[in-house]
Amino acid sequence: MTGTTPSAAPAAGGAADALRRRPGLGRLRELGRGPLFTASVAVLAVLVLVALLAPLLAPYDPDAVDLSASLTGTSGGHLLGTDQSGRDILSRLIHGARTGLLGPLLVVGVSTLLGTLLGLVGAWRGGWADALLSRAMDMAFAIPGLLLAILLVAVVGSGMTAPVIAMAVAYTPYAGRLVRGIARQEKARPYIEAYRVQGWSGWTVCVRRLLPNIAPTIFAQSAMNFGYALMDLAALSFLGFGVQPPTADWGAMINEGQSAIQQGAMLPALAPSTCIVLAVVAFGIVGEGLADRISRRER
């Protein structure tokens, strides 16, 4: 070919891309990678750091009860005040980040692993295997996650184990359906077919060629699921089926803070609520942003 730089080629699509972008959609997409995306990444990074370094960061022992200092409100000593038992809210929030992140991490890890396995097998084998797996996932969709969790708590006893297992089971069909969809789409792409025509084994093509190409999409979806799992587990804790007092946990803190609202103290419930909302929204934005980047890079 001529002496033109190979790197010059992709820019040719720039004009067409610019034309294709619709105004309304464009603005939404900008959000996905603009300052909001950066801010969300920062929020998550802080969250993870706080969880890791909780014992170093927390100014007080989160479980130290001091009934004489109940509901003090914000002060120099207690930045976010204390709860009814006189425990430092900030310290409890900081320690709460640990259970808050660990639970969803287990849920998302397990469900993504299982879902990827099921989705990939279904998409690659097709036929009866796919039909069977799809029906199984349809049935799994019908199981309400929260009810399953409550049921398991009755069997296993309360604590983190039962809700995490229940949520992992409940999230698996979502991950499975997502992976099956994108894997089927990817399998039909000519580059995968070219591998098959070249004579590679089905296993190699599926696991070593196809999976790495869809992994970023699976990861992006997992980030979004992380937020939902965090919310669901917090809800279970709030209802009293999850992490048990006195362990610091955002969901449980909201529950405990309810009665303080009637006494005019908003912070004990409001602070953990804010943390949950912030985390869920940040995970959502990061997930969306990643998914958008991937689809943008694909063309």
């Binding site: 070919m1 992709p10 580059y191 070219a194 098959r196 070249q198 004579g199 084994s201 190409n213």
Partner: protein, 269 residues
């Protein structure tokens, strides 16, 4: 059609159904070694399904595919047979933007084919990759990059080099120039003609473009709704077509002084 000569690609009574839709019905043809056959048809003619069965991407419901007498209609029994078949027929796909793995560099893409099909060591493979790239008009600069850094024409050259890497007997070209700019299209057609002259590979050209057929194929097979409506030497089919559908196809090719209404009664829903 002549029945089963031992040499070349012989397809007999190929059939494929999807539910109650017949995609391909009783398609037979022969491709002599190093010959070039164009399979022509419109969407839904079964031309792509036919070649997908030849390369093993679809399983035929009936009929046989033989290359130099070896049957390849059934599922390969083991790895050796799978690789042997891959060395018989390779394929270049239509869309150069989707037919290369986005995660693999150009040289990596050729190298892994050589690793699968040959016993060459790393040095020998590197030399062979350079040779293959040179054969399709690409250089060291293109070798090191990911496909997304290449233009459509360059990508199609990579896809051709990838197919040539296994030294196949037959190359299936499924609308391989349809997605390219006209000036690039002519370059690729030129390249393909040179490769056929030098390497003696048989070509199976799947296309909707009759103007291209005239310049690349010795013989033509016209398909419509999964069946062969006409076949024969290219010069004969293109200039003295016998079937009315072939005549309609030819009348529909735009050219100067063309009357688009001619031969195409408005078909309605």
């Amino acid at each position: 059609m002549v029945t089963a000569p031992s040499k070349g690609l012989v397809v007999e009574g190929l059939r494929k159904r999807y539910g109650d839709h017949t995609a391909v019905e009783d398609v037979s043809f022969t491709l002599a070694p190093a010959a070039s056959l164009a399979i022509v048809g419109e969407s839904g003619s079964g031309k792509t399904t036919t070649v997908r069965m030849l390369v093993g991407l679809e399983r035929p419901d009936g009929g046989t595919v033989r290359l130099d007498g070896r049957d390849r209609s059934a599922r390969p029994r083991n790895r050796a047979e799978r690789l042997a078949r891959a060395r018989e027929i390779q394929m270049v796909f239509q869309d150069p933007y989707l037919s290369l793995d986005p995660r693999v560099t150009v040289s990596g893409c050729l190298d892994e084919v050589l690793r699968l099909h040959t016993a060459l060591d790393a040095t020998a493979r590197r030399a062979r990759v350079a040779e293959l790239l040179d054969q399709v008009g690409l250089g060291a600069r293109e070798a090191a990059v990911l496909p997304r850094r290449l233009s459509g024409g360059q990508r199609q050259r990579v896809a051709i080099a990838r197919a040539l890497a296994v030294e196949p007997r037959v190359l299936v070209l499924d609308e391989a120039v349809a997605a390219l700019d006209v000036s690039i299209q002519a370059q690729i057609l030129d390249l393909l003609a040179t490769i056929r002259r030098e390497a003696g590979i048989g070509y199976l050209f799947v296309t909707h473009d009759l103007a291209v057929v005239r310049h690349i194929a010795d013989a033509v097979l016209v398909l419509r709704a999964g069946r062969v409506v006409e076949s024969g030497p290219a010069a004969h089919v293109l200039h003295a077509p016998e079937h009315p559908y072939t005549r309609l196809l030819l009348a529909s090719v735009p050219r100067r002084g063309w009357d688009p209404g001619h031969g195409s009664p408005a078909r309605a829903t």
